[in-house]
């Protein structure tokens, strides 16, 4: 046994690993802990920039229009949409699936990437968790308003005593209710648990007044003690474990809405993982869009969400885009291979029939355009990232439109084939929901710490107990050599003039 390995073995047995392996910096300019607090807490503490007000004005106006359109829709009935007897599901479910899909990035980043020890996620997780919640809210609106009689919404719930009957448990639409409400509640819980230490930081910085009282209330008496952190980290780990299957289950069940039927183009076994990949794809694209919009408003954030994060997100966009492309390919191949004439006909019609423009928009936006990210300089270019993310958002909307409308408009019975034309109310509901989403998001930026400060601090190089600068931050946690520590203390004492 060589000396080297002998030492390693010895060290391992003792459970001490005083090896510090530097990693590429996640945060620019090596900020100290305080810089991070200042940047992030500074946003809600300060005045909003002009651009924020402009965007908020537009979003709020769209949201107001949305409410007006919904009011009219409920007054008049869903006949004001373009849905017809053949295409009974159109923009409503397209929007619903699009929004639920977008709502997947948050949990993926906070749970799955956490379990995979991806430290870079800390800069964007708060952000995308918030986005998730708002996207799920937007998604939930569409099944509700599609009912027409929204006052019967509670019929969704299994209330046997008051209803004198059960809901249809065999319907995937019913499972959607359970899956999405679970997802929403767990996402809110995850988001809130993560917020607690940061709310406490903001509380400590706030001047006495109503803001401090509210922050104090919601930070649940957080003091940042050792025991609190231990409980917090355990809770975070458990929530991450619980959320991971949820990331898969929600969009799996959304895919069941289609795939359990026997409609050509809907009934195919790859739908569950294909929908999950698509959801992550669109979710990351939306995170990208929002990050870049946030850059315009708060350029100081670039220190915390930097090129490396943009690069990584673009890689995930590219990979998930290709997974979606793989599913398109499999479906097409099996449509031919199966020898099922209905299946083959629907796929040929998708590409060459009346909706060819939607199909090729989908292929272009989802499969072709993200290929630009093979080039590293493109992955870190903000303008390119922004444009591609918008294309992906559009492409994923078209994907759901293609799936829903092409299969319905031309099914088994040619005499009932019909083309779907959206009305102004379809467009207004969709655009209005974006207004609702952006309003909520901008309010989040206005009032909440947009980045998880405590987590970002945790991945800074000098938070690593083996980093030479570690003790200088006053956060030595006893892992370091006592002797080394004593030296540092002496050094600091000299620096401070012997005090």
């Amino acid at each position: 046994m060589s000396m080297e390995t002998a030492t390693l073995k010895q060290e391992h047995r003792n459970g001490h690993h005083h090896v510090y392996v530097p990693e590429p910096e996640l945060i620019n300019d090596k900020p100290r802990f305080k810089t991070i607090t200042d940047i992030i807490s500074g946003v809600p503490e300060g005045k909003m920039p002009r651009l924020w007000w402009i965007l908020f004005g537009i979003s709020f106006a769209l949201m107001a229009m949305y409410l007006a359109v919904i009011t009219y829709l409920i007054w008049k009935g869903i006949g004001i949409w373009g849905n017809n007897t053949t295409v009974g599901w159109a923009w409503d479910i397209t929007n619903f699936v699009w929004w639920v899909g977008i709502g997947h990035a948050g949990t993926l980043i906070s749970a799955v990437l956490f379990l995979f020890r991806q430290k870079w996620r800390t800069s964007i997780n708060r952000f995308s968790e918030a986005m998730t919640i708002f996207a799920v809210i937007c998604a939930g609106m569409f099944p509700l308003i599609h009912m027409g009689r929204i006052w019967h919404a509670y019929w969704f719930l299994p209330l046997p005593n008051s209803m004198q009957m059960w809901v249809n448990f065999r319907s995937p639409l019913m499972w959607d209710v359970f899956a999405i409400s679970t997802y929403l509640s767990v996402s809110i819980m995850f988001w809130y648990v993560g917020l607690i230490p940061d709310l406490a930081t903001m509380r400590d910085r706030a001047k006495p007044g109503i803001r401090k009282t509210l922050l104090g209330l919601f930070s649940l008496g957080w003091r940042g003690g050792n025991r609190q952190w231990r409980h917090y980290e355990r809770a975070y780990m458990i929530l991450a474990g619980l959320s991971t299957p949820l990331v898969l289950s929600v969009h799996t069940i959304v895919s069941f809405d289609f795939a359990t039927s026997v409609i050509p183009g809907w009934h195919t076994t790859i739908f569950p993982p294909y929908f999950v990949a698509g959801a992550i794809f669109s979710g990351f694209a939306m995170v990208m869009t929002l990050v870049i919009i946030t850059y315009w408003m708060f350029p100081q954030i670039k220190q915390i969400i930097n090129e490396r994060h943009i690069d990584n997100m673009n890689k995930i966009i590219m990979v998930t885009g290709m997974m979606v492309g793989y599913a398109y390919g499999c479906e097409f191949f099996i449509a031919w291979y199966s020898g099922n004439p209905y299946e083959a006909s629907i796929f040929i019609k998708r590409a060459t029939g009346p909706y060819w423009w939607a199909y090729w928009s989908m292929i272009t936006c989802n499969v072709i355009i993200p290929q630009i990210f093979w080039i590293k300089s493109m992955r870190t270019n903000l303008a390119v990232s922004f444009i591609v993310s918008i294309f992906v958002n559009i492409g994923m909307w078209f994907e759901r439109f293609v799936i829903t409308v092409t299969s319905l408009s031309q099914d088994y019975l040619p005499s009932s084939w019909k083309y779907f034309n959206p009305t102004i109310y379809d467009v207004a509901c969709f655009v209005g929901s974006i207004g609702l989403f952006m309003t909520l998001f901008l309010l989040f930026l206005r009032y909440m710490p947009m980045v998880a400060m405590s987590e970002v601090k945790g991945v800074l190089p000098h938070a690593n107990p083996h980093h030479p600068d570690h003790e200088l931050n006053g956060h030595g946690n006893g892992h370091a050599h006592e002797q080394h520590r004593a030296e540092k203390v002496a050094e600091l004492a000299t620096k401070n003039g012997g005090r």
């Binding site: 390693l8 069941f256 790859i270 569950p272 993982p273």
Partner: protein, 396 residues
């Protein structure tokens, strides 16, 4: 850290035994071929797919490791790399399948195709010539990727800086890998029942393959710990991480299997449900239930605990169990189609001694090849610049 420290010197015994067992197995298999060639080819396909799954899983392990820039798995990397490097030998071992096509695949029967509209439609894809060419295209692709990465990895041992190269090879390779493993699963397994189809089938085979490779890596590394200094760098922390992946992919396999089953059951279209019907009659229902329990329930219940993933004994047992279950899975995929080409045969389970001989034959040769490779180089990629971080892995 030097490569010499991690060489398996004078450890040829395992290889010799493997070769001996393999040759004996092959000899017995050849005898089987003459005694009952119908059973032989099916047994051979099951055994071939089992070892092929491990080699392909090794290739995936290597690719994903480079792609995501993983640190924790560096000390383990040489094992999956070596497993993948055995693919060209599997290409040779594929020859009997080409020769026995007629005994395996209904679509290779001209008279069957002539009387069957669906088979006629599919014959553009499913015909003996194109099937063989495709298979060797897959082998060519996999060999190229596996050997490029294996060679680069050895260069790294010698001090060459190839980290970026390995990553840039892995990115396009992953795409080609995904497409080729899907096509191979469609060709070799799905087309056994040529009327049946499922878009998720490629993912299903992949899920089982990667799952089995994780188990194989656990077992091989445990054996190597006793023979070399691997134990000094590969600690329980690495097994803990492997255990997490084994747990995660137990769930993933189940998710994929469930997606396929659930959608076909719910849609209830006869041309799709027939595949499950064949696996729910004549005793096959017990294999189906056993597959669910053994491939999901038991591993799930055991691996969910942190303590199991951090116990050498438990990990060893679970990993061996995984290998058994992958065999059961392939047996369950392949054997019910025996009566498609042999309509007069009985419909129940066909467990013949030939399963044992072919399994041992292919497995012996596979392990002999792998062992030869393992003994010819360092078993740890000592030249990797981030190896220190991997050695000092610690689970929170």
């Amino acid at each position: 850290m030097s490569a010499e420290n991690f060489k398996l010197t004078g450890e040829s015994k395992f290889g010799v035994i493997a070769l001996g067992v393999g040759v004996a197995g092959v000899a017995a298999s050849v005898a089987g071929l003459f005694i009952d060639h119908k059973t032989f080819y099916f047994a051979y396909l099951v055994a071939f797919m089992f070892w092929m799954a491990i080699a392909l899983g090794g290739l995936f392990f290597t690719l994903i490791h480079h792609l995501v820039g993983a640190e924790w798995s560096i000390v383990i990397r040489r094992i999956p790399e070596t497993l993948a490097s055995a693919i060209p030998m599997m290409a040779i071992l594929f020859i009997p399948i080409v020769l026995g096509m007629h005994d395996l695949y209904e679509w290779s029967h001209e008279e069957a195709v002539a009387h069957d509209e669906l088979l006629k439609h599919k014959s553009a894809w499913l015909n003996p010539m194109w099937f063989t060419i495709r298979a060797y295209i897959y082998f060519g692709i996999w060999t190229f990727i596996a050997w490029t990465l294996y060679k680069a990895s050895l260069d790294q041992d010698g001090g060459k800086d190839v980290t970026e190269k390995m990553r840039s090879v892995s990115a396009p390779s992953m795409i080609v890998f995904a497409l080729s493993i899907t096509a191979a699963a469609f060709d070799w397994l799905m087309s056994l029942d040529p009327h049946w189809f499922s878009t998720i089938f490629g993912v299903y085979f992949f899920a089982g393959s990667w799952w089995t490779t994780l188990a194989c890596v656990v077992l091989l590394s445990m054996y190597l710990r006793g023979k070399s200094k691997l134990g000094e760098v590969m600690t329980i922390e690495h097994y803990h991480d492997l255990g997490k992946l084994m747990f995660g992919f137990t769930v993933f396999w189940t998710y994929i299997a469930f997606s396929q089953f659930m959608l076909i059951w719910y849609g209830n279209i006869p041309e799709e449900t027939i595949w499950y019907k064949h696996r729910w009659e004549h005793g096959w229902q017990y294999v189906s239930m056993f597959l669910f329990i053994g491939h999901f329930v038991l591993p799930f219940l055991v691996l969910i605990f942190r303590a199991s993933k951090r116990s050498f004994t438990v990990m060893k047992i679970v990993a061996s169990w995984f290998l058994l279950m992958e065999f059961v899975d392939l047996y369950w995929l392949i054997m019910p189609t025996f009566t498609i080409v042999n309509p007069d045969a009985h419909h129940g389970l066909h467990f013949s001694w030939q399963h044992l001989t072919t399994f041992v034959g292919i497995g012996g040769l596979f392990l002999w090849f792998v062992w030869n490779r393992l003994t010819s180089a360092s078993i740890v990629p000592v030249g990797d610049p981030r190896i220190e971080a991997s050695i000092h892995l610690k689970n929170a």
